[in-house]
Symmetry: D2
Subunit: 326 residues, 4 copies
């Protein structure tokens, strides 16, 4: 267990992380106009291979319910979910008793970042005013027009690939990692060895931390007023780039918190370097308890993965329901 | 072409349609507590077979862009799409220049019914105050609590199955069916014969009408003030039940408009009988132009289909992006 | 001080309160079609007299700030305030640098009931399915059409009358009444005697309890899980009817909580009997600290009062800013 | 009548208007920290005098209904009004039949700029990146925090003063001015002479153009694709400054459209110079038909005026209901 007094073993220095912005960069790798980033790594062949993993036809949903009556279950202060009903459409327009059928509609409002399972698009973060592939954030993001580039809309082919779960919880005792537990590349590889699986190019990597399960049961963990969550530390960034992961996903926000750096600029290096430099798409706050059990039961940690974000112009996020199919 | 003066050939009488509520009913078929309706027809084996259709790994998105600046492209008066940006999260909370990274967020509001590609859940319609599987709408749907039952949330395993496109446009001249064109079962079967494909149990049936493409180009078609759209007439209902279609989808709202019945209770029999009696899930207003071309090019009208509605408690709809994968 | 173990002195029985629905009723008093209830008591002559109270021209605002970043300051779980900005309208539509002027706009969402200063319109409550002046709530209030009758829109002439502050806090030690303090008619009259003022027909009665000030400083008061607030007990209802108060307002929700009745039907008798039977408009959660000081300083507890609810069709509430002018 | 081919008589040149930003400026007049602009001109004494105008106690509402079912009656494309109901609060939380009383609530969303009667606060416009009293718009207005300064919240004492209606319609034939009719200072003074009233310091000036009435009856007027509306031309700006008007209000958007300048920077000089340089608060899109009749009937064009914008942090607008009291 990593406590707040521990140094994180193997943590790169802030200067090193700053260097990652350039050394790990995918800018230009798929052309100056590219907007897909690491989704380019999901080739048609990769999808064919992924589909071959559907052997039983069993689906596991990787999202928790989104519930307007519990809009912010992780207490981030950011998540919003609103639902308003329109009951009795025909009666409203035609009068009571005129039609034997009637319609029910709804209006839903959502701020997907925060508590609920959601996709982070490439417009979500900037570093020194730049976004993925050398875009100036002041050009890319506007108040009225939304994200003029790098919207999740660009992922309209969905994220359909091989999914690989690395179950870090299973390397330790208990149902979840301790809040603040920092996962480094060696721990990812320890899970690979234990599970006899290797993360490769175009894969959707799912990291099981137990964070969501723990928080729903025990509430937000804090130490000296700071939120503590398990997650990857910045030393995983070269590994993610080397393995050419297409999408990083977990039942947490990817970044271990605290990240180990006093400078707020390095509060979330996985998000920052991942989204901006690598063009790496992220899926936060999944529900992975059931998936981890399903993998363990089968002794199989690879599966068909699909996430289909909505095709909405100009946004940084999509609340949606990813699935694993065995 | 069917004009407003024509009778619709083979159209069942209103009394016959009323009878469908009982004769075609799936109430109780999967138990008194069932909430999935025709999604029960998508068996694990069906998913395995569907995955086997992924041979090239090519994806076709079946949704148009959802765009807040053109929220209601089909001019239904119902669709709403709003997007609000939160720019400069770190700067807002910490002050200017404190952090080198910054975050962009958004809040999105949507009424999915109407113009945009969306799923109709089983709580969307009632007949004589009842919803699918003998639920009283006054029990099922509440103003504050939303749909207490039959929410699209129940489809959290997604709609993943074999998709079959029946290209009715290709049976006629032109890029789209005439507004008001009524498709009967014989025309569905004519398409089957031409395409050498048979719709079967658990399939997602996609019907290409060209309606969305025509409307975007020429605007809403009206005659004597009534909206005219191509679609299935009520005589298809026994066929849909017999074939055990799991989900009916099209680039229109399924129901031909006008439906051929003067009584408003029969304004949309496919919606009404489909949702309430069959428990048949519907996907309205897809974009099928590209898919029809992709099928024709390959001489193949079956493919892997996936739609992953959001897992939201208490709603009748989900705006989402279905895909076909070849 | 009333503690939770005390009986509330002078509290009418539940049966008596139930009787008030008929005995205190204003139904039909201003005709069967009346929608204004006690606002009928504000005659033109009353407004002229109120205007004569403007002697110094000093304004005291009776609302606290409504702040999206602290949307629910009284922690009711009901209040919602959202604000979204549209920055750079011209730049968005014309491009950067085209116009030297630019416009900023906003979209605001609010659920006025709950924490913020707001007007309760007559459609806000029902008793046995009826609303003011014998309206069936199922006729009056619809999901899509809103309040077809009794909307705050009907108060489009505003609430402009003599305001009278009864400072109940000043009858006791401290800056606020204890949570749960139940005010009866004798205490209202004690304040009248002390202040040498008499509440009369058409007056807006403001009752100073200190509740909002206390809650903002010390948080919500609870005992055995029940919220405790000072306010009027049900025994004030005949007094309010007899005095023909036009609007009842306070820095609380009018009703003492707990109300003294175990039956939930009598949870808020001032609201229930007031809105439904008397047609009495209510203004909840004002900020009265400054007003109480201004009155005490002048030895004058009557003033010109104005509240101008928005003219919105079909709603039960209006967030707005009432003022007192001396 | 001014037609699109006419020059506007007396129209200052664009260079002159640009000069107004400095020559008519109120920056610093009430101190470097001032946020109230021309509302400073409403002195306590002014309010006392205004109250003395309440002689009959008759109220005229100056707002039209705000109606979610007709959210944008002037077809500006900007206005939004949404209303969502919460019906059966007690039933929802406690179950059916538990309580004899029940509550109805609502959530309202509004973009006040555009079609409905609303106040323009001083943060609404910028010129060369500056707002009233030398504020940099990039400091003043933020995406997440809203208007950090110059919010309509600052007008929490309301706008309570003498109102003066100048009925420009009455100087011409017909029920409204022609679209595009440009009002200059000489026409304002002609109305003053006819009505025997003089606009002075601290007054709320209401200008009757008939624009809203005409638009509701005949639709938006366009010529060569440009919207045409009657209103003040830029030559009125020195007059407004000289008379020290506290608030400019009308049943239009103040600015004649087209404004007479080809450069888009001068599209709305009354708004731009008024808000930014003078710190002049504006009330757009009132309903003045009834007020004009009430004034004419009495031969009295001055009255008690009150508008009480909501006390909301960080916004540029307030939808509200101003009233005139005779």
């Amino acid at each position: 267990m990593t406590t707040s007094n521990d140094l994180i073993r193997g943590l790169p220095s802030a200067v090193e992380v700053e260097g990652y912005i350039e050394t790990l960069s995918n800018w230009g790798r798929w052309g100056a106009e590219d907007r897909l980033g690491t989704l380019n790594l999901i080739t048609p062949q990769k999808r064919v291979e992924a589909a071959a993993l559907v052997r039983e036809g069993q689906v596991v949903s990787l999202s928790r319910d989104i519930d307007p009556e519990d809009a912010d279950p992780l207490h981030t202060g950011i998540a919003k979910v609103q639902r308003f009903m329109g009951i009795g459409e025909l009666e409203h327009h035609l009068g009571r008793g005129v039609s034997r059928f009637d319609g029910i509609t709804d209006y839903v409002g959502i701020a997907a970042h925060g508590s609920n399972t959601h996709l982070d698009g490439l417009a979500h973060y900037s570093w020194d005013g730049k976004q993925y592939n050398n875009r100036l954030v002041t050009d890319t993001v506007t108040s009225i027009g939304g994200c003029l580039e790098l919207s999740v809309r660009d992922a309209y082919e969905g994220i359909v690939s091989r999914g690989v779960l690395l179950d870090i919880v299973a390397l330790h005792d208990g149902d979840w990692l301790e809040p603040g537990h920092a996962i480094g590349p060696e721990e990812l590889e320890e899970a690979e060895r234990r599970q006899k699986v290797t993360v490769g190019s175009g894969d959707v990597l799912l990291v099981h931390t137990g964070h969501v399960a723990r928080t729903l049961q025990h509430g937000v963990a804090r130490e000296n007023g700071k939120v503590r969550q398990p997650g990857l530390h910045a030393g995983c960034l070269p590994w993610l780039r080397e393995r050419d992961v297409a999408t990083l996903a977990s039942d947490a926000i990817q970044d271990v918190q605290p990240s180990g750096y006093p400078d707020v600029s390095f509060l979330r290096p996985i998000h920052t370097v991942g989204l901006v430099a690598l063009g790496l798409w992220l899926i936060d706050n999944m529900e992975l308890t059931e998936l981890a059990a399903a993998c363990a039961e089968r002794g199989r940690w690879e599966f068909f993965f699909a996430m289909l974000p909505w095709r909405m112009a100009g946004v940084t996020s999509s609340a949606t329901n990813p699935v694993a199919i065995f």
